[in-house]
């Protein structure tokens, strides 16, 4: 399974997290769904779908929290028969990132994923460039940015 990152500071914390939490698939993206790193995906189309769905779920739960006049939810877990999906946000110097983690229930558990996710969040905060302003992707650049990111994420 390969791990790839568009921004190099993400790579090491992500590799450590995957190893310790026993994650099967991981996406790190901006809240707009722009993918910054991935582990375990073999097809670009899967990354695009997962990122879009993950960002949409995060936006929905943020809105529910807003309507309940609560701070955003810390994390979201969905457990299936064989796999679990964990979705949570991390505040970094690069802005808010969203992590989507898929884990096998016979290899890992929600407790392990939550435990090592806290470490991942701390590692990302420490490694992120402190003075960078998150780059806005304009509609005009969207396709080129997406294509560049996917090329990096799949080593093309």
């Amino acid at each position: 399974m390969t791990t790839r990152a568009v921004e190099p500071w993400i790579f090491e914390p992500l590799v450590k997290f995957v190893k310790e939490a026993g994650a099967r698939l991981v996406l790190l993206m901006t809240s707009a769904g722009q993918v910054l790193a991935q582990h375990g995906f073999s097809r670009a189309v899967d990354v695009m779908s997962a990122a879009a769905l993950g960002a949409a779920i995060m936006a929905s739960t943020d809105e529910i929290a807003r309507q309940l006049q609560q701070p955003p939810f810390a994390g979201l877990n969905h457990q299936g028969e064989r796999h679990g999906i964990f979705l949570a946000a991390v505040a970094t110097g690069r802005g808010k990132l969203v992590a989507l983690v898929v884990y096998d229930l016979d290899v890992s558990s929600l407790g392990l994923v939550q435990l090592f996710f806290e470490q991942l969040a701390a590692d990302l905060r420490a490694a992120s460039p402190k003075d960078s302003v998150p780059k806005q992707v304009l509609a005009a650049d969207f396709e080129r940015e997406l294509s560049d990111s996917l090329n990096t994420l799949f080593g093309r």
Binding site: Q79, L105, D106, S108, S109, L110, G111, L112, Q114, L115
Partner: protein, 119 residues
């Protein structure tokens, strides 16, 4: 520190009243999440729960592969303490964190009682 519903609190009392026990927890075996805990300051409950459940899962598979039946009790001795675990029939784990020189037999007995009470 204690976070335990009343019924589970009494179950954990069985374990924590043994001299040398620093804390006891009920852990969901599948998830590795804390269900109830009575721990002394400084013990990282969620970390112990997640790692103990992961270990229990692997030990269970090892026992299964070896054809020796289900695990009933395990005891990990470290330099500065010990971890003792009994799986309850429901899949919940009863976990004790103890001093290195704790009376292991007594803790085991109370863990087994607690596991029976949890069901």
């Amino acid at each position: 520190m204690s976070t335990a519903p009343a019924g589970y609190g009494r179950v954990l009392d069985l374990v924590t009243r043994v001299r040398g026990v620093r804390g006891a927890m009920l852990v969901a075996g599948d998830d590795g999440l804390v269900v109830a805990e009575q721990l002394m300051e400084g013990i990282k409950g969620p970390a112990v729960a997640a790692l103990a459940a992961s270990l229990a899962n692997r030990l269970h598979r090892a026992m299964d592969a070896a054809g020796v039946g289900a695990d009933q009790f395990w005891h990990l001795q470290a330099e500065q303490g010990a971890l003792l675990v009994v799986p309850a029939p429901s899949g919940m784990l009863v976990v004790a964190v103890a001093e290195p020189d704790v009376n292991v037999g007594l803790v085991r007995l109370e863990l087994l009682r607690a596991a029976e009470a949890v069901g």
